[in-house]
């Protein structure tokens, strides 16, 4: 795939260490609009740590992040949101005791002219967007702990979509889901891609990677093994990168 113009995100030469252990060691990756880049590697390879620098959960020790070609300062999750970066976490970062609307708008509540949160308006907006993303969704009044994994994931995705995310980080979005719900999330990713979002997808399931990603960046022991176009490689090639840290021969990156 040939990329023209400036990348949506460029993480250049990122390093971060925890107590002497280099979790991420001089890694450079990028992401273009309308593209899904898979981040792969063993547990502890550093992919989650790397991406948390982008989402503001961690601060990198060295390196730089460029958004649309401009240097970005991301110190906390609030900064990340200001750059239209939304994250959907593996651990389903929802407040279990609140309902879908409260979670969707958490941190960005709609308020009435008097400054009170406008629950009715937020629920109406939630009903609208869920009608688009997951028409079977009914449980608007219950706390989200009463929802299934897929329903919860659709709340998390709705949050990203509603606030016009340009850059979406998905950390194993289908790990807790059944086959039907996985399919639903896969369709959502396709749709978001078509809308021009750039998506970083952290994924362990090699089939999902082959199906959903345009490119794949593989990490091992905190270092980048390489980035490949998914079309040009087989799943064995990618497994070789993950397990042996070996780049397939004759593949342009």
């Amino acid at each position: 795939m040939s990329h023209r113009g400036t990348p949506l995100v460029e993480m250049r030469d990122i390093s971060i260490a925890f107590g002497g252990i280099k979790a991420v060691d001089h890694v450079t990756i990028d992401l273009y609009p309308g593209e899904v880049v898979g981040l792969l590697g063993h547990n502890g390879a550093g992919k989650s740590t790397l991406i948390k620098c982008l989402s503001g959960a961690y601060q990198m020790d060295s390196g730089a992040i460029y958004i649309n070609g401009e240097k970005a300062e991301i110190r906390n999750p609030r900064d990340a949101r200001a750059y239209n970066i939304e994250t959907i976490y593996q651990t389903l970062a929802l407040a279990d005791n609140l309902d879908a609307a409260s979670n969707l708008f958490l941190g960005r509540e709609l308020v009435t002219p008097f400054g009170f949160v406008d629950d009715a308006q937020m629920e109406a907006e939630t009903r609208k967007i869920m009608g688009r993303l997951n028409p079977n969704f009914r449980k608007f009044k219950e706390p989200v702990k009463a929802l299934s994994g897929g329903q919860r994931q659709s709340v998390a995705i709705a949050r990203a979509v509603y606030f016009n995310a340009k850059i979406l980080i998905m950390d194993e979005p289908t790990a807790a889901l059944g086959p039907h719900e996985t399919q639903m999330v896969a369709e959502l990713i396709e749709e978001l891609k078509a809308q021009g979002l750039g998506i970083f997808l952290i994924e362990h399931d090699i089939h999902n990677v082959m199906r959903l990603c345009d490119r794949a960046s593989v990490m091992k022991n905190g270092q980048l093994v390489g980035t490949v176009n998914v079309k040009d490689v087989t799943d064995e090639d990618i497994l070789g990168m993950i397990i042996l840290g070996k780049k397939p021969e004759g593949v342009a990156c």
Partner: protein
Amino acid sequence: MNTPTPQDGGQKRTLLQSLELDTRLLGMIGAFVVICLVFNVITDGRFLTPRNIFNLSIQTVSVAIMATGMVFVIVTRHIDLSVGAVLAICSSVMGVMQVQLLPQLFGIGHPLVMPLTVLAGLLTGAAIGALNGWLVGYQRIPAFIVTLGGLLIWRNVGWYLTDGQTVGPLDQTFMLFGGVEGTVGSALSWGLAIVFSVLAVFGLWRARQAKIHHEFPVKPLWAEGALMATSVAAILGFVAILNSYAIPVGRLKREFESRGEVMPEGYVDYFGLPISVLMLVVIVVVMTLVARKTRLGRYIFAAGGNPDAAELSGINTRMLTVKIFTLMGVLCAISAMVAQARLANHTNDIGSLDELRVIAAAVIGGTALAGGIGTIYGAVLGAVIMQSLQSGMAMVGVDAPFQNIVVGGVLVLAVWIDIQYRKRTGEKV
């Protein structure tokens, strides 16, 4: 008015479902009614007299005010063991201000004494609360430790401020916060009762209109009407009881004499609503609004339900902790005003063991120590239930040690019932 269609099929709804009432709240009210009736029978009707209900109300206020703040603290998975000690130091600061410092500046009974005293108390409470919040939120010291330290520190700092002496007599205006000395009289009480009733009905009606506007399902009109009628009846009933508590004749005579008049024969007057109870009502309304209708409240509950999710959603959870503890400190200061004025002095042991009563009130009221769950009205009801138990047993003549045994048992029992209730309704415990 259009009738919205029921949402999930045409299944028949039970009475309780139509009313959309919190069954946990109903359970607590039920328990409270049972306690009152039992004591009333044992005491041959002395428990449910206007006089005793008046006393119960003013005795509950101090703990209930702090319990509303403790709900926020516990909902965010913290604890505050220092509220009794913070109450004590606020009380000692206010005692020194109004008895020693300010009268030297302005003279005894100057109109500025009360406001400046209150301001000093509130600032003291806010500063200590903010310090607690900073230690917990930014320095990551567990709240249990910070406030356990505070429990030992603040009461004894207060001891040094007053040299361990009882401080009094208090400023006359300040005494109005206490209860018996500060009631608004029956006419104004009725007026306030009507205002509160109108506000309650208006609030319910507005909520319904907002739902209809967004085409959400609403409860049937009769259920809404029943809810409005119950609220109004409760408000008017409570005021009617307090308005039927006559001021003792001797006291009225003294009041007339102090104005240089003679009391007419057969003159009666009634206490009406105590100012301290009105303060509690205002605090409950404000705190409930904060909990349900402000971003702060939303963040408190979000941070309690899932601290990581709250942080990742861009909420500054450290600052949130500072705000919550500061609010708790301010509420301790307000409680100190009420407690001190009720006792007519500052004493060293003011608010002793209040931290346990306040935590117990919040927990009996359904606040979960695991975080994320709790209501303001529940905590107040918890405080009322505890106070009723205690003063009921005192009236019956139960030995003091046994009173504590019963209150302790009720605390554990209430939490056990709550856990069973949540298991049944499928909530996570």
